[in-house]
């Protein structure tokens, strides 16, 4: 109860209020631009959060995530180009409705479904996180190590579709994490004699490079996206009859979004498509799907907004980010010297509960901004793409320098952007790399701590019950995804 009252107290804080409304606005505008994902929109603001209070900074970043999920549906409906990956499912029926002259209605359904999804996800986050964190408090160093391995296995297996490439990316992230000083002895590792690297590679720089710079390197040679019709800029909220009709697909979206959100690596895109598929299956009018069915918008939009909150469950309770956006939020925690995980609830409970309050504000802000932002969004989407790219790069380069006033950081971000570009070409997923980077310290330090406790005996990881279960889960998942990858070719139907 103290925690919840603390959360409500944060609602009255001016800085949190501004962060929520400002973050959602930034997120909607960013999400409306095809090419700017929620994680990019968040990464762009990361350097600017350095000087903010921890709660304000985290609310700002989380609000961007909330706003971007709605913003992505705007171009999906108007110009058949999803602004975010998770809005891809919205294209299927949203654009069809726009072609029928019902774009305003489609956008209204998207907004309200997103609102219900966000609030539902927040409820799950509040109820589930602390319980899970209490369980994790009992973890030994061996269990923490095994948890890190499980997290890396799940992400490596589920993101990008190739366990091998995911594993390689995870190893790459761990390798980057080891740059700097050894956590036990302080010996310099992989620094090449550079004083700038003695303190390690800051995750925020890698995230900005991989998410923002890489995307600009790709976007610079992509053709411009289609223009939106400004005359469609009239939002229409669903009436009572439509709201009743949308209850079932929204419920489906909520359940699927919850499951996919708490599963590291699954994410909003998969949740949206699964919700769409299930909503169609359980609909009394499945023939309308793909032809402009309101349910075809409600289910995926509800699901992807549920994920914005539920993806934070493994992050806050276990310290394992389950999505790119959660990984950027983890970067926000690290900037302020906070380590997400079970200890966060005892060391900085005000930050956690402030985040809950901020997310509530963010969903309200999404509704309020959504009612008025359509015109400016369409204006922004219609801006010449080269100017947007130039503006984003200027913001990125400025923000990176602002962190430590270091030119080395700029060079590192550019190099990381190039690395991400190469990874994109090789179709190597980025999330396992980011996860390896942020979990590297946890994995290594707990591994070595466990061996100190056991006097060098590796059996500690198998005699500890929790560790054994986690390692078995990791092994089973790895074996399953590995089997799928190496399965012999099946003969197709004649």
């Amino acid at each position: 109860m103290d925690g919840l009252s603390s959360a409500f107290t944060q609602l009255a804080s001016v800085s949190v209020l501004l962060a929520a409304f400002g973050g959602v606005l930034w997120g909607i505008l960013g999400g409306a631009l095809p090419g700017i994902s929620p994680s990019i929109a968040m990464a762009l603001l990361l350097p600017f959060t350095v000087g903010l209070a921890p709660t304000t900074a985290l609310v700002l970043l989380a609000s961007v995530y909330v706003g971007a999920e709605y913003g992505g549906s705007i171009p999906a409906i108007l110009i058949r180009t999803p602004g975010t990956n998770s809005a891809s499912a919205t294209v299927l029926d949203g654009y069809a409705m726009a072609q029928q002259g019902r774009a305003g209605e489609a956008l209204g359904i998207s907004l309200m479904s997103g609102l219900w999804g966000g609030l539902f996800g927040l409820a799950v986050l509040v109820l589930a996180t602390e319980s899970l964190a209490r369980v994790a408090l009992a973890f030994t160093p061996a269990a923490y190590f095994s948890l890190g391995i499980l997290g890396l296995s799940v992400i490596a297996g589920l993101s990008g579709g190739s366990l091998l490439k995911g594993s390689m990316a995870a190893c790459g992230g761990l390798m980057i994490a080891f740059i700097g000083s050894d956590p036990v002895s302080g010996v310099a590792r992989f620094t090449g004699g550079s004083a700038d690297l003695l303190g390690g590679v800051k995750p925020i720089l890698i995230m900005v490079g991989l998410f923002a710079v890489t995307e600009m390197l790709v976007q610079i040679s992509q053709p411009p996206w289609a223009k939106a019709n400004a005359s469609q800029a009239r939002l229409k909220l669903p009436g009572w009859a439509m709201t009743r009709r949308l209850a079932k697909p929204q419920a489906i979206g909520a359940v699927i979004g919850t499951v996919e959100g708490v599963t590291p690596g699954a994410g909003g895109t998969i949740a949206a498509f699964m919700a769409y598929s299930e909503a169609k299956r359980w609909s009394s009018r499945p023939e309308e799907f793909g032809q402009g069915s309101p349910e075809g918008i409600a289910a995926p939009e509800c699901a992807n907004n549920v994920v914005t909150a539920t993806a934070l469950v493994p992050l806050l309770s276990l310290g394992i980010p389950g999505s790119n956006s959660a990984a950027v939020l983890l970067g926000g925690f690290l900037i302020h010297g906070l380590q997400p995980g079970p200890m966060l609830f005892s060391k900085a409970p005000d930050v956690v509960y402030g985040l809950y309050g901020g997310l509530l504000l963010a969903n309200i802000a999404m509704l309020l901004w959504g009612l008025v932002i359509l015109g400016p969004c369409i204006w922004l989407v219609n801006r010449p793409k080269p100017y947007l790219i130039a503006f984003i790069l200027a913001l990125v380069m400025s923000g990176v320098y602002a962190i430590h006033q270091s030119v080395f950081d700029i060079v590192l971000v550019v190099a990381t952007g190039v690395f991400g570009w190469v990874l994109r070409w090789f179709k190597v997923p980025v999330l396992p790399l980011v996860l390896g980077l942020v979990l590297g310290y946890l994995v290594e330090s707990n591994f070595r701590r466990s061996l100190v406790i056991s006097a060098g005996e590796l059996s500690i990881f198998f005699t500890d019950g929790v560790s054994l279960v986690l390692l078995l889960l990791a092994a089973l998942l790895t074996a399953y995804t590995g089997w799928k990858e190496f399965a012999p070719a099946k003969k197709g139907p004649r």
């Binding site: 990956n85 294209v91 579709g161 498509f273 080269p386 913001l395 006033q405 990858e485």
Partner: protein, 197 residues
């Protein structure tokens, strides 16, 4: 370049990287404060895992070439640069009523080799990298305002904006505008430049 060839190249590069990394990890000198594992122990293990994954990838690519497995034509790693054809390909993967599992969604029937980015796209990207590095070099010399204006001008032109008044005005406004934002509003001191000091 098709996916199998791409995977073999990736596997080769990863193997070389793993070998170099393990060699570098073995060079790390331990201090008296070190534990039994040592500063280089875990990095060596990770390097070994990377090497094994690279070997397995090579094997998988060879299997695909020999027709022993479905060529794993992955859907593009989810990128924000979504276009309707990509949305369609993801949408088509959910035709079964159960819906996709993550790995199902990533596997598609054998298809034509994935296209290599056209040369102009690579050149444009490389040029942008040079522009960004030039910005990093110029920043301490010419100062923030001039450097950021030059960055906006160069990157805008590279992205396709015509070198005309609108772009020039944007570039000219970007310098003072962003300086006001950072130096005055956010209280972050931006460099004045050694040339003007």
């Amino acid at each position: 370049m098709n996916d199998a060839r791409r995977d073999r190249l990736l596997a080769l590069l990863a193997l070389i990287g793993a070998a170099l990394y393990i060699a570098a990890a073995r060079q790390i000198e331990d201090s008296l404060l070190s534990d039994g594992v040592g500063a280089g122990g875990v990095p060596q293990a990770v390097g070994a895992v990377l090497g094994l994954a690279a070997l397995a990838l090579c094997l998988r690519a060879w299997q695909a070439v020999r027709g022993l497995t479905l060529p794993l034509v992955l859907t593009p790693v989810p990128t924000p640069a979504m276009t309707s054809p990509i949305a369609s390909s993801i949408a088509s993967s959910i035709a079964p009523p159960i819906g996709p599992t993550p790995s199902d969604a990533a596997v598609s029937a054998p298809s034509a080799p994935a296209p290599t980015p056209p040369l102009h796209a690579l050149l444009r990207g490389a040029a942008l990298v040079l522009v960004l590095l030039a910005y990093a070099a110029l920043l301490p010399l010419a100062g923030y305002m001039l450097s950021i204006s030059a960055l906006v001008l160069a990157s805008g032109a590279l992205a396709g904006a015509a070198l005309r008044l609108p772009l020039l005005w944007c570039a000219a406004a970007a310098g003072p505008g962003l300086w006001l934002l950072f130096d005055r509003l956010l209280q972050v001191r931006m460099p004045i430049g050694q040339l003007w000091n």
